[in-house]
């Protein structure tokens, strides 16, 4: 008879098929849960910048305060990227001939800003206010990591919605006195007791919103 029946070896495929049927949905869920996450996709993003500016040197070794350059961080939602003039406050005197500063000198002369590549970028649909956070005891390092140790800045945190919510639901472990905001080495959980951090919640009147419209305005 010419009819098609499964050859004997095809029995071997059966366990594989059943396994695939069971595993495939789980795999799909896993791919979405982990694969689509910014933690997988975007954390660690470290573009090459037009000027080899080292945060490790300026903020780390030299101990410059973050706010010297990112001076609007306490007043506005946006932490400013400094204009070339800010660089030149020092670099007219210090190593003005350094080959690393060619682009900066060029920019200073022409008035064309340097094309810094943005590392920490949120979707247009989400609103974030730096001032609201740094004035209430969330330090730079809580979101940006130890920038004072980064030769080239990279994205340390996933900046995912779940990551934001994590702190909005329980801000207390990340709170520090406002005076320590730019202290990169400060670790709230080591420096302060639980009670002291809870006291900060009252002091700064912290009640973070979990409402959709808090960030998606």
């Amino acid at each position: 008879m010419s009819r098609f029946l499964f050859p004997k070896w095809s029995n071997l495929l059966l366990p594989g098929l059943i396994l695939a049927g069971a595993v495939a949905p789980l795999y799909a869920v896993f791919v979405v849960a982990y694969g689509f996450s910014p933690k997988t996709m975007e954390a660690g993003y470290q573009p090459e910048q037009p000027v080899p500016f080292s945060h490790a040197l300026h903020a780390g070794q030299l101990g410059m305060d973050c706010r010297y350059c990112h001076n609007t961080v306490e007043k506005t939602s946006h932490a400013a990227v400094p204009p070339t003039q800010t660089c030149m406050n020092c670099h007219t005197q210090i190593r003005p001939e350094s080959p690393k500063l060619v682009e900066v000198q060029e920019s200073y002369k022409t008035g064309e800003p340097i094309d810094w590549i943005r590392v920490h970028k949120l979707g247009d649909y989400s609103y974030f206010n730096h001032a609201a956070h740094v004035n209430r005891g969330i330090g730079c390092a809580s979101c940006h990591g130890r920038v004072d140790q980064m030769e080239v800045v990279y994205r340390w945190a996933p900046l995912s919605m779940g990551w934001c919510l994590n702190c909005h639901r329980d801000p207390e472990p990340n709170l520090r006195p406002v005076s320590q905001i730019t202290n990169m080495a400060y670790e709230p959980e080591l420096e302060l007791s639980d009670d002291e951090r809870l006291a900060l919640i009252d002091k700064y009147d912290i009640h973070p919103s979990e409402n959709c419209s808090a960030c998606h305005r």
Binding site: F4, F6, V29, A33, F36, K39, P158, S160, M161, W163
Partner: protein, 492 residues
């Protein structure tokens, strides 16, 4: 198995005819009318059904229908892509009418599917033998209708690329669907419905696929049908397991006939909008679904039996029975319409009263009266046997029911939204060409899939039809007519 071989020449009476077709619609106590006409052997059934897929070419009418349907699928694809690329603004939606053609089509198609499940599951459990002639393609219709239905919720979300958010999948946003929302229950209800229907359809088809495999003359057909026949050889053990599985699947599907459209009705009933916020919705939607589904089965069966020469398997009795179900469910739907108005008056609620008066006499009065005339008046004609057994009339009336049931959903959705609590927010929904194109396209998809099914799969459940033929009766041939009823009872 007490089918008597009456009408197979045993009664000695020449068969009466209606409009050129053998009349097997009678009901006489003590004897059953045959469900298969003009065939004396199982082989004839096999040949009649297999001929459709084995013919070198399908009938010319098939090409015309297929060409038309595929063109509409192209239109569907274009409209959907245009929608995705541009945004839901290409539809005529406005505030307050934020649901219109999209959800109307969704509910319409989900409803269509219900007849297939009712025929395959409930009629099976009730041992309604006439279901065997129509169950296969009614189930196919269910599956294709649910596929058409599934398109609309998926594309109406706007950002189609994140449509997987409908499912509760762990994600970086730590966001979950609202488990208290019937919109989420809908996702589960419809996906369960599709899965179970597909399994049921496929499981029932295995023996017939094996028949096609065994008759196949080309290598490719042998392999393709063989693959899906799952190695069926018709052994006693195969049949035993098959019957078990079929029974279990029927039992699984049975609650779905009632639950799926109940959940769909919750989408409306759990909101607080007058016209939607009604406790009658779940049974009313289920009755409407079966009503529209059977109308669609008739719409498909009439041309299909004509086109593929299946008049002896899908007989007047089958069609007559379906028309009776249309009549019954049509009465239920009519009752529900009346009850909605009664409650609107009886509740004394100002907004409720307005919603219904507005429905009948407001800006969408024409849609309301199309709905009433198609859904309430049309089925009443089926009280007359002459109409129930007239092929052209039942075809036309089934089309009316299809139209009416589409308008029912349109009326419920659009009239309730367009004139809500605040007169200042009232608006009027006007469909755009994309709305209409998508609606027509869904019909195209439905008929394309159905025509492909007719051409490539066994349209009639051969194995099951054979089981309801007199020849399947163990008494057939040997001792027929030899003993009275009492003796027969002791044999069985």
């Amino acid at each position: 198995m007490s089918t008597l071989p009456v009408g197979m020449g045993g009664s000695g009476i020449a068969p009466a005819t209606i409009g050129g077709e053998i009349d097997n619609t009678g009901s006489h106590p003590g004897r059953r009318e045959p469900l298969v006409l003009g065939m004396d052997t199982f082989g004839e059934v096999t040949r009649t059904v297999c001929r459709v897929t084995e013919a070198k070419r399908p009938p010319f009418a098939w090409y015309i229908a297929f060409g038309l349907s595929v063109s509409l699928v192209g239109l569907l694809g274009f409209c959907v892509l245009y929608l995705i690329a541009t945004g839901v603004g290409v539809w005529g939606l406005n505030n307050p009418v934020m649901w219109a053609f999209d959800i109307t089509n969704f509910v319409f198609w989900i409803g269509i599917g219900h007849a297939g499940t009712l025929i395959s599951a409930i009629l099976f459990l009730f041992r309604q033998k006439w279901r065997t002639g129509i169950n296969r393609f009614a189930e196919a219709m269910t599956i294709f209708a649910v596929m058409c239905a599934g398109i609309f919720p998926a594309i109406h979300v706007g950002r189609v690329w994140v449509v997987y958010w409908l499912f509760p999948i762990p994600n970086q946003m730590e966001m979950w669907p609202q488990f208290r929302s019937p919109l989420l229950w809908d996702v589960f209800a419809v996906s369960t419905y599709f899965t179970v229907s597909l399994l049921f359809w496929f499981a029932g088809m295995v023996p017939d696929l094996a028949t096609l495999r065994d008759r196949a003359t080309t290598k490719f057909r042998q392999f393709a049908y063989g693959l899906f026949a799952l190695g069926w050889r018709g052994s006693n053990r195969h049949w035993h397991r098959y019957e078990r599985a079929y029974l279990l699947l029927a039992a699984l599907s049975t609650p779905l006939v009632l639950s799926v459209h109940s959940v769909v009705s919750f989408d409306f009933a759990t909101s607080q909008l007058p016209g939607w916020h009604t406790t009658i919705f779940p049974p009313y939607f289920v009755a409407g679904a079966i009503f529209s589904g059977f109308a669609m089965v008739v719409t498909l069966a009439v041309p299909a039996r004509e086109m593929f020469g299946l008049k002896n398997l899908i007989t007047l009795r089958h069609l007559d029975n379906m028309n009776k179900i249309i009549l019954v469910t049509g009465c239920m739907v009519g009752y529900a319409y009346g009850m909605e108005f009664f409650i609107a008056w009886y509740s004394g609620a100002l907004y409720e009263k307005f919603a219904f008066i507005n429905r009948a006499f407001g800006q969408y009065w024409w849609a309301y009266w199309i709905m009433v005339s198609c859904n309430v008046i049309t089925p009443q004609l089926f009280w007359f046997k002459a109409i129930r057994t007239s092929i052209p009339l039942m075809f036309i009336l089934s089309l009316f029911v299809n139209v009416g049931m589409w308008f029912e959903r349109y009326v419920i959705i659009v009239t309730s939204l367009a004139n809500d609590f605040l007169p200042s927010s009232w608006d009027r929904f006007i469909p755009t060409w994309v709305d209409i194109g998508t609606m027509l396209g869904a019909f195209g998809l439905f008929f394309t899939l159905f025509l492909l099914f007719c051409r490539f799969l066994p349209m009639i459940a051969m194995a099951e039809v054979k089981a309801v033929m007199p020849q399947a009766d163990p008494h057939f041939g040997e001792d027929h007519g030899d003993h009275d009823h009492a003796a027969k009872g002791s044999h069985a």
